[in-house]
Every structure is written in C-alpha cells, then in structure tokens.
C-alpha cells in the first residue's frame, strides 16, 4: 500500500472516531436536557414561591386577598381523596393482578382483559374524568364529591398497580409455588401465604408511584366538577355543624364538596395578579415535593428490593 493511501485511511478512521466522541457529547447533552429541565422547574418554582411557603400557608383557607390565602382546604381535600383512592385501587388492582398472573386460563377472556389493561394505561386522564362525570356523579348520584374523585383516580391508577403487582409476582421463582403445593397447600393458601408477602415490596412500589400520579392529576378532577374555591373543610365524623346544628355521620365527608392541591394551583395560575401567581408557585412547590418525594421513595425501594432478592 502506498503511503498516501495509508494516510487517507488513517484520516478516515480518525474522522469516524471523532464522530464517536462527538455523539457521546451530544448524547450526554440531550440526556441532560431532562435533568436540567427538572432543576430549572424546581428552582423557578422555588424562587417564585418560597416566600409564601409558611406554616400559615398550610392552615389558611383560600381568600380573595392573596397574602392571606392558604391551601388548607386543598391539602385536606387531596389527602381525603387519596384515602378513597388507596382503599379502592389497591385491593382491586392486586386482586386483578393475582388473577391474571396465577389463575387466568389461556383463553379469549384472559386475552380480552389483558388488552383492556394495556389500553386503559394509554387512555388520556381527562377521559376518565368524563367517565366519572357521567357514571359516578350523575348515574350513581355520588355528586361532585370526594367519593367520586377518589374512585375516578382509583380507576386511573389501576393499570399502574396491576402492572407493578404482576411484575413482582412474575419475579418469584416457580419453585416457591411448587414447594407450597408439595406441602398440600391450596392455590389460595399458596398465594396468600407466600406470593403476596414476597411481592409486598414490588406492590408497595407500584402503589406509591400510582399515588404520586394521582395526587398530581388535575384534569379528571376538574372534569367531575371539583370546586376551585372552597373555604370550609369536609365534616369531621360525629361533630356538630354549627350552621345546621346536625351531627355529621361517620361517612358524611365522602359526599362533601372539595378541592385538591393541583386545582388550587390551576385556579391561582389563571389569575392575572402576580400575588396569586406567587401562591400558585408555592402550591407547586408543595405538590412537587410530595410527588417527587413519593417517586424517589419508590425508585429507592425498587433498587433495594433488587439488591435484596432472596433467590
């Protein structure tokens, strides 16, 4: 080979190696777009809103005066809605996952269920709001209440819980099942005494991720008609309402009007006054700390489970 040809060949190789390095840098930058956005978002919110995140902010009702406004009704509403969501979604999702993973025969009914679970995960959240508006609010007549909102969000996060539970069930080796059967356990004994305890960590991870998603969901809760301005709390069981002089029942709070944190933020962000925008940012800080905290917890939990697997 002539020296010149070798020269061009070397130049070619060097050029392609440079492309490699170049793409490595571009790739890293593109990946950092996400990380940087996350940071920018958080810093932006914090700078706009940190002055408003005071203890009073959590104990005041919203008001027409921005400086005296707080998120008391919103965070109480969010907490109660989440309570309903957990009680509805967790048993339902775990049961469905156990059926699909451990019981379901291979037939068209199972296929139909599988297709629906996958498909529901892709349905826009606002469509769940429309479903709930028609079904829970009017047909079942639960009204624009905490119960309706909790059930709506439960339906929304059902696929998340089902998928997480199935994954952790699938990770349990078949030998565990065979051992239980060999000792004469029935299928349910095997599931309830072995599979559920062993998959608890994975289920918990799924539940936390689902809850983090539910707490930030705005559109479906607006659609069912959550109010944007609430200056009272749902009735505490067995207390007397001074306005009507009636004792609240144990479950009256379920049917109370309510608002939630993201709706409160949406309400404030829609106002032109800068003082309310500050409130919106402060609410945003609260929401983001809650959701990111929950997500981080779930990610950490998953990492720990992966490390401590017994098999």
């Amino acid at each position: 080979m002539q020296a010149q040809e070798i020269q061009t060949l070397r130049a070619l190789i060097a050029r392609h190696k440079r492309y490699d390095i170049l793409f490595g840098v571009i790739g890293l930058l593109a990946t950092l777009v996400g990380v940087i956005t996350l940071l920018a978002l958080f810093i932006d919110l914090l700078m706009d809103g940190y002055a408003r995140v005071t203890p009073e902010f959590f104990t005041n009702f919203p008001s027409r005066r921005a400086e005296q406004s707080g998120i008391l009704s919103a965070w109480v509403g969010s907490a109660l809605v989440m309570l309903v969501t957990v009680f509805a979604a967790v048993p339902m999702g775990v049961a469905a996952a156990i059926y699909l993973e451990e019981y379901a025969p291979r037939n068209w009914v199972t296929d139909l269920i599988e297709i629906n679970v996958t498909n529901l995960a892709g349905v826009p959240s606002i469509v769940y709001g429309l479903l709930a508006l028609g079904l829970f609010v009017y047909i079942l007549d639960f009204g624009q209440s905490i119960l309706s909102a909790g059930l709506t969000l439960a339906l929304l996060i059902l696929p998340v819980i089902i998928v997480a539970t199935r994954e952790s069930l699938r990770a349990i080796p078949i030998a565990i099942r065979e051992a239980a059967y060999a000792l004469g356990a029935t299928r349910w004994q095997m599931v309830s005494q072995h599979l559920i305890p062993y998959s608890m960590g994975g289920i918990l991870t799924g539940v936390i991720i689902g809850m983090a998603r539910a707490i930030g969901e705005t559109a479906p809760v607006i659609t069912i008609g959550a109010l944007t301005f609430i200056a009272f709390l749902p009735p505490l069981p067995y207390t007397i309402d001074p306005a009507t002089d009636q004792v609240a029942g144990l479950f009256d709070w379920l049917f109370s009007p309510f608002t939630v944190l993201p709706i409160q933020m949406f309400n404030w962000v829609s106002r032109p006054q800068p003082a309310f925008l500050q409130n919106a940012a402060a609410t945003g800080v609260v929401i983001i700390v809650a959701t990111l905290g929950m997500n981080a917890l779930a990610i950490w939990l998953r990492y720990r489970i992966r490390k401590n697997l017994k098999w």
Binding site: V33, P91, A104, I113, G134, I215, I222, P262, V269, L292
Partner: protein, 315 residues
C-alpha cells in the same frame, strides 16, 4: 360396646365423611376466591365498556342537535355564544399543532437519548440518569403548565418579541420535554432487545460505535422506536393541563404555533370549570369532544402496540 368392630368402622367412616365435607368446603372456598379475583380483573373490561357507553350515550344526545357534517366541517367552535357553532376543526387544529411542536422536540431528543443510553453511556451514567428521567415523568402536568406560562414563554419572547403571552409554541415545547422520558425509555428497550451478535458483526467489519448504532442497531429496532413515537403522540394528544394553563383556551382555527388556541382537552376542562347544567348541549358537547379524543388516541395506541409487538417477535 364402644370397642365393637362396627363402632370403630362407624367412627372411621364418620371421620372420612367429615374429611370429605371439609375438602368440599375447601374447594368451594377456593372457587369463591377465584371468582372474586376474576371479577376484579374484569373491572378493566368494565371500565372500557363504561367509557365507550357513557361517551356514546352523551355524544348521541349532542348529535341529535348538531349534524355530524357540521361538527366535522365547521371552522367555528363557539358553544357559549347566543348563536352557538359546533365545528371541531379549531380544537383539532389546536391539538395537532401542539402535538406537532411536542414531537419536533421529543422525537430527535428522545431518540438521541435512547441511542446514547443504550449504546454509548457508561454503566454509571445510565444508572444515575435513568432515575432522573423517571422523576421527570412524575412531575404533575399542572406544574408543567406553570413552567410553560411563566418560564418558557417569556424565554421565547426574548427571541420572538411578537409572541403573545398565550401561545401554542411554549406549551408544545414543554409537552415535548415531558414526553422525552417516555419516548426514550420505550426506544431504549427496543434497542436493547437487538441481539449482541448484530453489534459484534458490525464491529468485526471495522465499524465504529456511532456507525453501528445508526446503521445496525437503529434499523433493527426501528419498529420499536416508531412505536415509541406513536405512543408519545398519543400522550401529547391527551395532554390537558399544560395547554389549559398556557395556550389561552381560545378555540382558534390556525396552523401557526405562535398563536393562542384551545385543544380538545383544554375545551373539556374549560367547560367543566363553569358549572353547566346536566343534559344541556354544551354539557353534551364535552362528551362529543371526548369521543373524538378517545378515537384519536385509540388509533395511535393500537398502532403503537402492534409495532411494539413486532419488534418483540423479531428475534
């Protein structure tokens, strides 16, 4: 008396019968539990059926008053006016424009991130970055809306002084950033499913990493990558709060992303915020709009899943 053979046999038979009934009881209990679990699983089907039924029912009431032709061809959407007009086109154009902007951001960046994480990134980088991308997916959309309105749009106005405070460009970009983690994780899964032997073959021919990634891995994983884009479209189409906060909520038949507009989802939120009487035409109109939305996302979802299944079966 008690020790007579017949009594012993009787006792034995008795206990056998007892055992039998216990076994039966246990079987019945098992069956009952299975039924309960089955019903829980069936709730997924019930939810889908309920969604379709409710949307169809309320939308049919809407279409009794508004003809489908008008719905699909009229370029005005003014349900609150004295002389209301119901043409879905302005909402559709708003939805498509924001989705288009989102894709213009998410497709290139998402693909580069996927290639980088699957083919280039050292193990440590991947393990550090992926949780952050997951966190990005967990940020509530209303917060993204605030971000679009208060940070991205003012930033864009530095370069485009004529840009109004409400526009589709800012929210579109933010939705794009929002779906990057989704696009990149689905594409990365597809690229990782490409067998090592293909890469080794390419390296053996003297190709560099970049050449292998672009000429071998990407084509081999293309159906999965396309599936990621399509599932990303479906997300962007259904996104609500970002546009509701930052795009102006004004139905506007335009293809210019710099103008304010409303999307299908933003319209539903806007109507739901005002307390509309149950059964009125504007009330029913949100279900008609929802039906269009479901049909759009359904098409994209089915397409995406078909493509995704193809790459799974390829190797």
């Amino acid at each position: 008396m008690d020790n007579s053979p017949s009594a012993t046999i009787g006792a034995a038979m008795n206990s056998q019968a007892h055992q039998l009934s216990e076994k039966k009881l246990r079987k019945a209990k098992e069956k009952a539990i299975e039924m309960v679990l089955f019903v829980a699983a069936l709730s997924a089907v019930a939810t889908t059926v309920a969604i379709v039924a409710i949307l169809m029912y309320e939308a049919s009431g809407f279409f009794e008053h508004v003809s489908i032709v008008e719905f699909l061809t009229n370029t005005q959407w003014t349900p609150m006016f004295v002389n209301p007009q119901y043409g879905i086109l302005p909402l559709l154009s708003g939805t498509l424009v924001t989705t288009g902007v989102a894709l213009a951001v998410a497709v290139p960046i998402g693909t580069i991130v996927a290639i980088y994480l699957s083919e280039f990134a050292p193990h440590a980088v991947r393990e550090t970055v992926k949780p952050f991308l997951e966190l990005l997916e967990g940020v509530p959309t209303v917060v993204y809306g605030y971000f679009a309105l208060m940070l991205v749009t003012p930033l864009l106005q530095v370069f485009m002084p004529d840009l109004p405070g409400f526009n589709m460009l800012g929210p579109g970009i933010v939705i794009g950033i929002m779906i990057i983690p989704y696009v990149s994780s689905v594409s990365e899964d597809a690229m990782r499913a490409v067998p090592m032997s293909l890469r080794e073959g390419s390296y053996a021919m003297g190709a560099t990493r970049f050449q292998t990634a672009v000429n071998v891995v990407l084509p081999a994983a293309i159906s999965g990558v396309l599936a990621a884009f399509i599932l990303g479209i479906s997300r962007a189409v259904g996104e609500t709060m970002v546009v509701a906060v930052a795009a102006g909520q004004q139905p506007n038949f335009t293809w210019d992303p710099r103008e304010p507009a409303a999307t299908i989802t933003a319209y539903i939120v806007q109507v739901a915020l005002g307390d509309l009487p149950h059964g009125s035409i504007p009330y029913q109109s949100i279900f008609a709009a929802g039906l269009v939305l479901v049909l759009m996302t359904l098409v994209f979802n089915v397409l995406g899943h078909l493509l995704r299944r193809r790459f799974r079966e390829a190797y």
